[in-house]
């Protein structure tokens, strides 16, 4: 079948109107200015209130006995000695826990059943086998040593290719079927065969990307309390996904969401590792209920390494890139075998993500992906920085270099030739996602200019003359911003579609108390960035108050609003818009009250220096606190009417794309997020102050994580039958600050290419046009999936063509509904 948009141009009427709240402007007082992080004083003085700091009355501590086998039947567990140890309150095996708590949460469809403690069979080294609750963690670990487990070893599957043909006892989940293939499907976008027929050269490569994962300083943990009277759970958690996962944890525990309140704690590092954390919550809840007292379970480093939720992609690619002799890329066809480990938490969500930017910044006309998701005796994959699309970027860049090699072309020239051109935006990629805007050639040229490639080539020649192995790498990557959870299930089989599209919202609440302090309640928890600083800057700007007058807190799940979470760089991008929306409503109300107090027309009022004053009349003003006090306690002095009856309290739920609702440029959503910048080595020290404070640390992390998976990780991550994998994982060396591969880097913002489209020379209009592109997702989606027809077609299963069409439609809709491509691109040149 052919692509819906053969010329990569969105169809007429696909672009809905803008929801921009404020036009772009310059001269912000707080936004974009360097400011000490609001979060720092309490973090730097050891008062961050992490999960580990939480202490509840009568609280006990849990430890987990973990499997030293990669694959085995549990024949017998004897907990008698452990139970007899002084200070032990409870010992629970998987079989016992199963009678109290159901399978753990997951997004795969059909699910691969997983429990918080293994039942009957262990499937990877480190899988939880039994748990102990005791007066201290020390006693709990002592008791773990006293638990006797008799295993019957089963064949171990560690090679993803071998997993495709596993049979018999080597099948991890026999109830799912007779093999270890969790999902195998082919997705075809555009005229792949025709494009390959036109090719002069087909470049073929087999590429292996080993798994890696995050190592947060603070591990995953949960303090759970259960009140038998009300049947209610309270959990302190460092999950960054608590709004999304909370009610799922409730389902595992067999209680409705009304009986479960998750209270977010400060998070000590994530990069995906704090996204789900459901196993800790489910286990702590199970134990607290069974033990009859609050339980703290905090992973130690071994728990974290061997049984986490953040092992990243583990892929084997067989790629074919169809090219013309001049280097023009025509089509990409590949098989990818992805080793998901023992369970299937997000399904193939990491490939749903990949498909949103499957051609990178290149004009590749068609794509075919055969996806084989296999299950092996390794810790399950979860969310790790990039969520799978970073691997696709790597694959594309390897293929671009391979093509340059085979065609004897300069790698830069080959890339330059294939970049999507500035006048081609908005650009629909074969899988249906839309890149809204961009100027990739300009990014590349700027990178080349800053990098001073001729100089590096000279250095390379000199180094090689000395016998040193020195190379220069070039990469041009496209990175979309924010994710929508739809990608977790968008590639599910038609027979088990899972969910439909989600709006993946974010929200915030803003109110002013009688003293004039502005309280912001964020719907998403902190996961280690600077959300409070970001919110403070925006609110201070909106109200023209000193940042010290702004108080930012995080909502728990029962007081908070709809939210998805900060994963995928969503925090600033999404919540900034919600804050602006809420601020504008409260501000309107404030001005109306002030107008009445000062007997002045609202249109003549302005906010300035923490006061509300009459425009052009210095001194004629009232402090914000005085107006707030009046609004709170002296409302009887206000006239009757809706203008004043309304409470000074608003919430705004923002659905993607909220990014540009924050009001023009430069805005924090763009300034603070590295994905919107261009990473270029050399020339350190340039850039704006907030870059050095907030962006540069994150940029440093990117190359380092690439560096971390550089050695032959695949080999090292494999657990061995003798359990050596357990220890070997612990021996893996996490790259530290000193191992950073590149010392020089630079971030450049190029002028927004959208402005170019404004024929009338009105920057506001230009911005609106660009924003309109983002809007596509919602309304386009609604049009493309009317009245549930797609679902009924799923149910009837009408043949292959329909399946493919559906896949395309789903991918397109997926792209449409929040997988917005901030298509400004990145170019990186690294010299090693």
């Amino acid at each position: 079948m052919t692509a819906t948009f053969p010329k990569h141009i969105p169809p007429e009427g696909y672009i809905p109107p803008s929801r921009q709240q404020e036009p772009p402007r310059e001269g912000y007082k707080y936004i974009g200015q360097n400011m000490k992080r609001v979060e720092d004083p309490r973090l730097l003085t050891g008062n961050g209130q992490y999960v580990g700091d939480i202490v509840l009355p009568k609280m006990a501590h849990a430890a987990v006995l973990r499997s030293d086998r990669a694959h085995a039947r549990i024949k017998r567990i004897d907990t008698a000695k452990a139970k007899a140890l002084a200070g032990v309150y409870l010992v629970l095996t998987g079989a016992e826990a199963k009678t109290m708590t159901g399978p753990t949460a997951q997004f795969a469809s059909p699910p691969v059943v997983q429990y918080c403690l293994a039942v009957e069979r262990v499937r990877h080294v480190g899988e939880a086998v039994a748990a102990v609750v005791a007066e201290s963690r020390y006693v709990a670990e002592d008791a773990c040593e006293l638990i006797e487990v008799e295993y019957e070893d089963l064949p171990v599957v560690v090679d993803p290719e071998a997993a495709m043909t596993s049979t018999g006892d080597a099948v991890l989940h026999p109830e799912r079927g007779p093999n270890n293939i969790a999902q195998q499907r082919t997705f075809r976008f555009g005229p792949v065969d025709e494009d390959f027929a036109k090719a002069d050269v087909v470049v073929k490569r087999t590429l292996r990307w080993g798994r890696s994962g995050a190592q947060p300083l603070e591990t995953v943990g949960c303090v759970a309390a259960y009140e038998p009277g009300s049947g209610k759970f309270t959990m302190y958690t460092n999950s960054s996904f608590l709004n999304y996962v909370g009610w799922l944890v409730g389902a595992s525990l067999g209680v409705p969401a009304s009986k479960l309140n998750l209270i977010p704690c400060m998070t000590g590092g994530s990069f995906g590792s704090k996204l789900f954390t459901h196993k800790a919550m489910t286990l702590a809840g199970t134990l607290a209920r069974a033990a009859g007292r609050p339980v703290k379970y905090l992973e130690d480093r071994i728990d974290s390494i061997t049984s986490c939720d953040n092992h990243g992609s583990d892929r084997l690619y067989r790629c074919e890139l169809a090219c013309k002799r001049d280097g023009t890329m025509l089509s990409l066809r590949f098989q990818v075998i992805d080793d998901y480990g023992a369970y299937f938490q997000f399904g193939v969500g990491t490939h749903g993500n990949s498909l949103c930017q499957i051609v990178g910044p290149y004009r590749i006309n068609s794509v075919q992906m055969e996806l084989v998701a296999v299950l092996t005796n390794k810790c399950q994959q979860g969310a790790y920085r990039g969520f799978g699309s970073e691997v696709t970027n790597w694959m594309l860049e390897r293929m671009a270099d391979a093509a340059a090699d085979e065609l004897a072309l300069d790698p830069v020239e080959l890339r330059r030739k294939n970049l999507i051109q500035p006048d081609q935006f908005p650009y629909v990629i074969p899988s249906g996602n839309i890149y809204d805007s961009g100027n990739y050639p300009a990014v590349l040229e700027e990178a080349l200019r800053i990098a001073d490639l001729p100089q590096w080539k000279k250095l390379r020649a000199e180094a090689r003359a000395q016998g040193r192995c020195v190379g220069i790498g070039v990469a041009t990557c496209q990175e979309r911003s924010v994710f929508s959870a739809t990608e977790f299930w968008s590639l599910n089989g038609t027979e088990n579609p899972g969910f439909t599209l989600t709006s993946s919202p974010e929200s915030t609440q803003l109110r002013i108390d009688p003293t004039g302090t502005i309280h912001v309640t964020l719907g998403s928890p902190c996961w280690g960035n600077s959300p409070e600083t970001m919110a403070t800057q925006i609110v201070a700007e909106q109200f023209q108050v000193d940042p010290s007058q702004v108080n930012v807190v995080y909502a728990d799940t029962q007081s908070g609003f709809n939210s998805t979470g900060p994963g995928g760089s969503r925090f600033t991008v999404m919540i900034a818009g919600a804050i602006v929306g809420a601020a504008k409503r409260v501000k309107d109300k404030l001005l109306r009250v002030a107008g009445h107090m000062m007997e002045t027309d609202v249109a003549d009022l302005e906010l300035r220096d923490g006061k509300i004053g009459v425009k052009g009349v210095p001194g004629k003003e009232k402090p914000l606190g005085e107006v707030a006090l009046f609004a709170h306690y002296f409302r009887l002095n206000l006239p009757e009417g809706d203008d004043f009856r309304e409470r000074a309290r608003r919430e705004l739920r923002v659905r993607p794309p909220a990014h540009d609702d924050a009001g023009g440029r430069p805005q924090p959503s763009r300034d603070l997020l590295p994905d919107h910048g261009q990473h270029v080595p050399r020339g350190a020290g340039r850039g704006r102050p907030e870059d050095r404070q907030d962006v540069h640390p994150r940029l440093r992390c990117g190359p380092r994580r690439g560096h971390g998976r550089e050695p032959d990780d695949a080999r090292r991550a494999h657990p061995r039958r003798d359990g050596a994998g357990h220890r070997h994982r612990a021996l893996r060396e996490v790259p530290l600050r000193r191992e950073r591969p590149a010392r020089d880097r630079d971030v450049r913002r190029l002028p927004d290419p959208d402005a170019r489209r404004d024929a009338a020379g009105d920057p506001r209009r230009a911005r609106r046009d660009a924003l309109a592109v983002h809007r596509v997702r919602h309304q386009g989606r609604r049009r493309r999936r009317p009245d549930g027809r797609a679902r009924s077609a799923h149910a009837s299963g009408r043949g292959r063509a329909l399946v493919l069409r559906r896949a395309l439609r789903r991918a397109a809709a997926h792209a449409a509904q929040g997988a917005r491509a901030r298509a400004r691109g990145r170019a990186a040149i690294g010299v090693r």
């Binding site: 430890a63 020390y138 670990e141 002592d142 480093r301 071994i302 021996l731 060396e733």
Partner: protein, 287 residues
């Protein structure tokens, strides 16, 4: 990652410490900096019944010159040694090697006495002390004796310390004029245990090498000297050819272990490269 139960004793003097050690015998372990012992206890790889904490024992952390020797108390911290002017002056090989030892927090707690008592084959200091012909002063409740560094290390994580004995001081002959020292190392990350490390001491007089000592880390046994390679160097001008030949000889002479991060073949290659670098640097410094 919590240790099993243990008893904790904190003697206030050396005789008290030695008494405790005598009383508890093989079930007792000395706690100095704890940078290896405590993680091993947390992983339950070692389970001492009694920890004898010597951190409050006075006089054990001194760094001083006594006659022709640099005397280092067993409780001297890595950080103190790294920053010590006496060490830089009188044992430049140790100063050079300390650049590679651990990270700041580890060096702040870890001690030289604890380091050599632990006798990790990948550790730098056993090789340094062996190359320097240092002697280790050890005491028990009954007696005291000195052991040459080369004989102190008997194997991986094994020393000549008898039951009830502890290291009290390390004595290093002072560096002499005409002597040059250099440490070269390869580790996956800076501060990690060495995949391979080579320490060199050479004395040059009249343009000829009159003495050479080479200690290697990362091999099967800690504190290994390469005596055959050393002999080859004596009498040469330490020119490029002599150094290259010695480096090749070192490659053959070492007895590398295979570790998780480097197999034996790779370690031999590392030794050749590192030995050549260290020899050249030491020669240049000797001039």
């Amino acid at each position: 990652m919590k240790p099993p139960p243990f008893e904790y004793v904190r003697p206030g003097s050396l005789p008290e410490a030695l008494d405790a050690l005598a009383r508890h015998g093989a079930t007792g372990r000395i706690l100095a900096g704890g940078q290896s012992l405590v993680p091993m206890m947390n992983l339950r790889l070692v389970k001492p019944a009694v920890l004898i904490d010597i951190n409050r024992v006075p006089g054990l952390a001194e760094i001083r010159v006594d006659g022709g020797e640099l005397v280092i108390g067993a409780l001297a911290r890595h950080a103190a040694l790294l920053g010590s002017a006496l060490v830089r002056k009188h044992c430049p090989l140790m100063a050079d090697a300390y650049r590679w030892v651990g990270h700041g927090p580890i060096r702040n707690r870890g001690t030289l006495g604890g380091n050599i008592s632990h006798a990790d084959p990948a550790s730098e200091m056993p090789a340094v002390l062996a190359a320097c012909d240092a002697t280790i002063g050890v005491r028990s409740a009954k007696q005291s004796r000195t052991i040459p560094a080369a004989g102190f290390f008997t194997g991986a994580l094994a020393t000549a310390l008898a039951e009830g004995e502890m290291v009290t001081e390390i004595r290093v002959p002072l560096a002499q004029p005409g002597q040059g020292a250099a440490w070269e190392e390869a580790a996956n990350r800076k501060g990690d245990f060495a995949m391979a490390g080579v320490g060199v001491l050479v004395t040059v007089a009249g343009g000829k090498c009159t003495h050479a000592a080479i200690g290697v880390a990362g091999m099967a046994k800690p504190g290994t000297r390469l005596s055959a390679t050393e002999k080859r160097l004596v009498g040469t001008a330490l020119d490029a050819a002599a150094i290259a030949a010695a480096a090749r000889a070192a490659r053959e002479e070492v007895r590398p272990s295979t570790s998780y991060h480097a197999d034996a073949t790779y370690k031999r290659e590392l030794v050749e490269t590192l030995a050549a670098r260290a020899l050249a640097a030491a020669r240049d410094r000797a001039r």
